[in-house]
Symmetry: C2
Subunit: 462 residues, 2 copies
């Protein structure tokens, strides 16, 4: 109740009073203009997904995407546009087929998880043993698993903040290694997703020192069909072929673009998303939308006049398959001059909450941001700011920052599937994202007060 | 307005008055029992899609499905359960891949249309020429098409009666032959569907004497991506490989099951759907649901006591790739003794209208059926009864019959795609279908009056 009263109090503050503390860039005006008519973000998403399409980290397609990004960011008027290279161990997909051999012969759709090992080229045939959760697999004796194809299911459902991905994610991250240690010949999972289409969800799995075997994901309709088979028969045999491989070390890189500030001593703002995508779709929601949103917001602020603080936009390489881009940037640039970070990497649906991490001294700035977000239907929420896989390291090192939490209800219908395509992006919700980022960034970039650092924080538990 | 008044008048008739003419099988009671609790239909759909899965006409999978059907229909207590064989020219899918070579290199999802010819094993590479409709392709000079890959789009949208499939269907049925005649090296179409998933819609194309070339369908996201490329460049080059082939003459067949009647002179009722499915999905809505619905209704009537007229349930073979099952049954059995036909082949969503074809003398029976359907939310509609691909020939030869029109709003999201799987069937709507068929069939099977034949009707225009 107190929280609700706080919100009410904020929203009832007379506008001139808020404006008294507001910067000269008129954040509300910029916010409302982008909400009504931003085309920069949509054009980036449409053009990148059409002209480049899938751009798996470390591949030639990701390199083409970097060149495309440099051209686009220069055309948009950003300064200091350049690529910073990094090196990574690059994994590519091979053949992927599966079929039930008996007692109900039929094809099954499968895709390899990122980092999967390979079957022999002719595949493997073995009995399927099913587990309804990663915990059930962990509890199983090795003799129940040895020589078998392990199938692991889960109960993930859509939720607004997407936290089911963390809660159920162990099935993708850990089941392959656990199954391998118990002697499985291959591990397949129910896709870590919430849709009912014949599109499997790929994504990275973690081997933690175990020698990789073939690890794949079934679309949810195929997973449920297999579950029905396992209820009908104790002897379901499957043939599966997955032949992905590592192709050695290749180049990835980050594309950097600046909105120069007037006051280098006031510190720098880092905002970003990732340019790479999984190879199955065209990476529209993951994460063309994210780079488009932060870029459109930064451009809007740039056009309104030079801000006090430099805003650096980073389109990271290799977020999906290991984070080489983020690691390289952190190693090169550290966090010394960074006073605010923000990451957009959760699709293009509307921002519904604001979670911030400022020092107590910066509560007035925090409050101004919250006030500027309310008219977009965004509530202020408790909790720790996270940023994400690309900029989370700065948060943990003590940089202030904020999360503009997007509605994740349908995100895991498409995430890491062939279905991550332009048509999944709602232009109106995309503009609301740009408006929220524009409001927040213009306030942070032009804040007259000093933005204080925070003490370092331990790494996230997940 | 008059129509609405008629409906009102019917629904206001006191129940005892209607019951005075009603048969002894208590159609309303049977209807309401199936609506509340039928499990026969769901079990058929679940078991057939799980235990057999895809069952392309003419293949070993369809033959397995026939054996499965015989076993199930016998277990359900039907009489005279047997297979009537037929022969067909069988087409099977081969390799299918496509990618944009330039200027925007990336993979494109494609599937061959039924009856498609083949590219060489290494595929063909050519410039893509796009048309926004079949009419635009028809109007194009041959020199605009010769040596190119023809892409044809359309504007199909979901609608309740599914008539968009007829209206826009020429793009699938005719564009490949038209493009071939103008010298195309391959023809690809925007899938004849209404969804936005990376699942292409297959389906038969007609060559009308033209020697087949490779003909494929792109999922709608891929088709729209290609449209965007064609807007950006006059020189989009694609590489496409489709290697389906005809494997010669193989067996298909119809599975037949009877509910014997007490009065052979009163004529026979034929109801059916088709057992075969396209190979991409498990054929849950097309047409496990159809055979399940009519079978569950016939079983319910059988359990209520022997009806006056024999009800013959037919699970047809090869509806999808040419209709060999229907043709064989018609050739063997003709229409002499058939006084009513009905076909269920439009998914599993609710029945919303009743369209009948009775002789004027049978208006009282027609009225009793309409009255029994009203409580299921089914309106009486004008228009000509059609039955469908399997039983339409009987209607055109003069058999009475009726269509229980299903809601087709989401049917073409899944039709002929990998996405035609069990999870798309809504158990509640499936039961409403069974209830509607139970009400109608019990009234027709037990009608005390003679059911009159009609004059033959010309073939449908489509």
């Amino acid at each position: 109740m107190k929280k609700m009263f706080d919100r009410l109090a904020l929203s009832l503050l007379p506008l001139p009073l808020l404006m008294a503390a507001a910067p000269p860039s008129y954040p509300e005006k910029l916010r409302d203009e982008t909400l009504a008519g931003d085309a920069v973000a949509w054009d980036i998403v449409e053009d990148l997904t059409t002209e480049i399409g899938p751009r798996l980290a470390g591949t030639e397609a990701e390199a083409r995407a970097r060149q495309w990004a440099v051209k686009r960011l220069k055309a948009l008027g950003f300064h200091n546009v350049h690529i910073e290279d990094a090196t990574m161990a690059t994994w590519v997909r091979g053949a992927e087929t599966a079929e039930i051999v008996s007692p109900f012969p039929q094809p099954i759709v499968v895709t390899a998880l990122g980092g999967s090992g390979a079957t022999p080229p002719e595949g493997v045939t073995a009995q399927v043993v099913g587990f309804d959760s990663i915990d059930a697999l962990r509890a199983a004796p090795a003799e129940a698993v040895r020589g078998k194809i392990v199938f692991v299911s889960h109960a993930m459902q859509p939720n607004q903040d997407g936290s089911g991905y963390g809660y159920y994610g162990a099935v993708r991250r850990s089941a392959p290694a656990v199954g391998t240690q118990k002697g499985a010949v291959a591990v397949i999972i129910r896709s870590l997703g919430t849709d009912y289409h014949r599109n499997p969800h790929t994504g990275l799995t973690s081997w933690n020192g175990v020698a990789p075997i073939a690890a794949g994901a079934l679309p949810i309709p195929d997973a449920e069909n297999l579950e029905r088979m396992l209820k009908r028969s104790r002897n379901v045999t499957m043939h599966i072929t997955l032949t992905p491989r590592f192709v050695g070390n290749t180049a990835t890189g980050n594309v950097i673009a600046d909105v120069p500030g007037t006051d280098p001593d006031a510190g720098m703002i880092l905002v970003g998303g990732h340019l790479d995508s999984w190879d199955l779709g065209t990476g529209a929601i993951d994460d063309a939308s994210g780079v488009a949103i932060v870029t459109a917001a930064a451009k809007k602020i740039m056009e309104a006049g030079r801000p006090r603080r430099t805003i650096r936009v980073i389109w990271f390489g290799d977020e999906e398959t290991g984070g080489a881009g983020s690691r390289a940037y952190f190693a090169t640039h550290k966090t010394d001059n960074v006073v605010f970070v923000g990451e957009s990497d959760f699709g293009a649906d509307r921002v519904w909450r604001y979670v911030s991490g400022f020092a107590p001294a910066n509560k007035p700035l925090d409050d101004r941001i919250a006030a500027a977000l309310f008219p977009l239907g965004i509530n202020r929420d408790k909790g720790e700011v996270e940023a994400g896989a690309d900029l989370g390291a700065w948060i943990h090192a003590g940089s202030p920052g904020a999360d503009l939490g997007q509605d994740g209800t349908r995100y895991f219908d498409y995430h890491h599937t062939p279905d991550d395509t332009l048509d999944k992006v709602d232009p109106k919700q995309l503009r609301q994202n740009v408006a929220a980022w524009t409001a927040m960034l213009s306030l942070v970039a032009n804040a007259p007060e000093k933005i204080e650092k925070l003490p370092p924080r331990p790494e996230r538990r997940q």
